[in-house]
Amino acid sequence: MRAAMAHRANGHPPPAPPEVTAAVTAAVAEHGDAAGALIPVLSAVNRRLGYLPPAALAEVSRRLGMPASRVYGVARFYTLLSTEPRGRHLVQFCENAPCHVVGGRRVWEALRQALGLAPGETSADGRFTLITTSCIGACAVGPVVVIDDEVHGNLTPDQVEALLARYA
């Protein structure tokens, strides 16, 4: 990020990789370039690239005519936006009370053990990133784990291994 800003200060913006430019162009085409579009634009880019690399933030800042610090501040604030690369599959464990009281803790322990990851970590082979999330509104079928966009409910600890095996 800092490198990107330094480049701009020198008048030499780093050339954004083509996939980054394409993602930002598509997002701006859909949501516009007004100030209020910042979050939808970042969300769209994040979805397409998997995270928000410094080049993408710089490009968004340029297109929306907004200070890079503001773009960066917003990107850091929201949990659906990530400034770090993530694994191929994002494993989100719901850690809120409704899932907790119906056996969430034991599922969490099984999940951590099966993945060998602490929350926020990505596996060495780049396959999984494990994070905790707040309630995703599937509590009627808790405990709940979301992998990529798929919600898995009514989980028990002994189902965890088989579930993960479905994501290569």
């Binding site: 007004a34 100030a35 209020g36 579009a37 910042l38 979050i39 939808p40 970042l42 969300s43 503001r70 501040g73 917003v74 604030f77 929201y78 949990t79 659906l80 936006l81 850690e95 809120n96 009370a97 409704p98 907790h100 009281v101 119906v102 707040s134 309630c135 995703i136 509104g137 599937a138 509590c139 009627a140 079928v141 808790g142 966009d149």
Partner: protein, 555 residues
Amino acid sequence: MQTFRSLVLVSGDPRSLALGAQAVFEQLQSAVRQRGLEAEVALKLIGEAGPTAALPLVIIYPEAVVYGPVAPADAADIVQQHLAMGHPVERLQAPERDLGGRLAWLSARRGTLPAEQRILLARAGRIDPESIEDYILHDGYEALGRALTGQTPAEVLSQIEASGLRGRGGAGFPTGRKLRLVAQAEGEEKYIVCNADESEPGTFKDRLLMESDPHALVEAMAIAGYAVGAHTGFVYIRGEYRLAYARLEKAIQQARASRLLGPDLFGTRFGFDVHLHAGAGAYICGEETALLESLEGRRGEPRSRPPYPVTRGLWGQPTAVINVETLANIPPIVRHGAAWYRTFGTPSSPGTKLYTLMGNVNVTGLIEVPMGITLREVITIYARGMKGGGHLKLAQTGGSSGSVIPASLQDTPIDYASFARLGVALGSGALLICDQDTCAVDLVRVLLRFFRHESCGKCTPCRVGTEQAYQILARVAEGGGHPDDAASLERLAHSLEMLSNCGLGQTAAQPLRDLLRHFGAEFDAHVKLGVCPAGACALARRPAVAGILGVPISG
């Protein structure tokens, strides 16, 4: 799974007991047993049932028949005629003039089920949510047409005010008053903002409303816009709600194509349009001023108030921020009138309420019932009882910003006035029902973990207070409690409540207070005896104390 066909409550307050309630209860019990109805009829001696002179009372659900005063000798008739044959015993029914408040309301509904009352969910599951034709065939856009062509904005406003509708987003502010404030405020533009951020743990009612009946929200926003003189509406929808977003997007397109959104609606000079805006994951954005910040493309940090959004909201203009469920009440109110609306619920809280049921019960999911129902009714009738024959220990109402309430309050009507009197927060409509295996300390620890994580960090009392409270609870749950931990939590609750900038920190105090007030003995057991009476928290998993679990403890 244990399900009962009938629920029989006997009032067991001191006056009822003095008048023979215990004997009535026992006679009912033996008559039920004699007729072999134990598996179908749940019988409970409760505390005070409500204001009446006709004690002792016997109330039978789901018909909601109120008997009183009942003598032990009447028990056989009630069981024989009512429970076995299905005919209420008229001569024993409490005279209407002797009943007040909730009992009068129940009694007025005699003979009908206090069953699910579907006003908001009337179309859910019955229509194709992606078809505007289906919506129109089922009364859709009738209220908007009627308002625009037959009523002045002032008349629509008065109607909403007269209905007594209160905000369902958690705070319960009267919706009519909010709209009037916006209508009266000066501004070049005015906005209706629908709060569809729904991030309260355990709450998914707004999602289901939007997914099953998206046009209802569009119609409601247009009516609200007409009432206050706004021409633009925004739906701020939680980023994870992809299906609800897609359905709303489609609904808006269809409404525009059918000229139910856009300029000159129904041949009048009034125009209205709706825009969608997806959030990006931050609980605090449900707070209305943080939501407006986010809508303007900034970090979702709450603004200082005053000024309130009703005078200076989105882009500095007068704005009504209204919850999805609240809005969904508006078309039925306009269609049927305020008097009709007030026939549902209680005088202080008219209408129905959506609840999400979850936890250790047999049936989980979404229900719509009249305001004023009790927790016991919800558990017995709709949730079909506790799972595995367990018993209710506590319930957590309204997600994290609600209250942790003990089983002793399960006969309190769930409405704004009754809950406020008890210092309990109704919150958003989540009902997390927990059995004896839930540890109150552990539960409150998990709630505080949520607040700690979601605190936006802008104000220090909230950021530091939620962190410290969490650390104390985590330590207590691990067996490292100090004798002064209760006092520290009390102090933290006080400063969270008094010094936090917004509702997040203020509501974080509630579960701490509930823990100390209702589950003090259980907290002390952790701190002073080093045991978890429920055998559920981290402390219980330490081998050293595993042998002395099950120490009897009250609460």
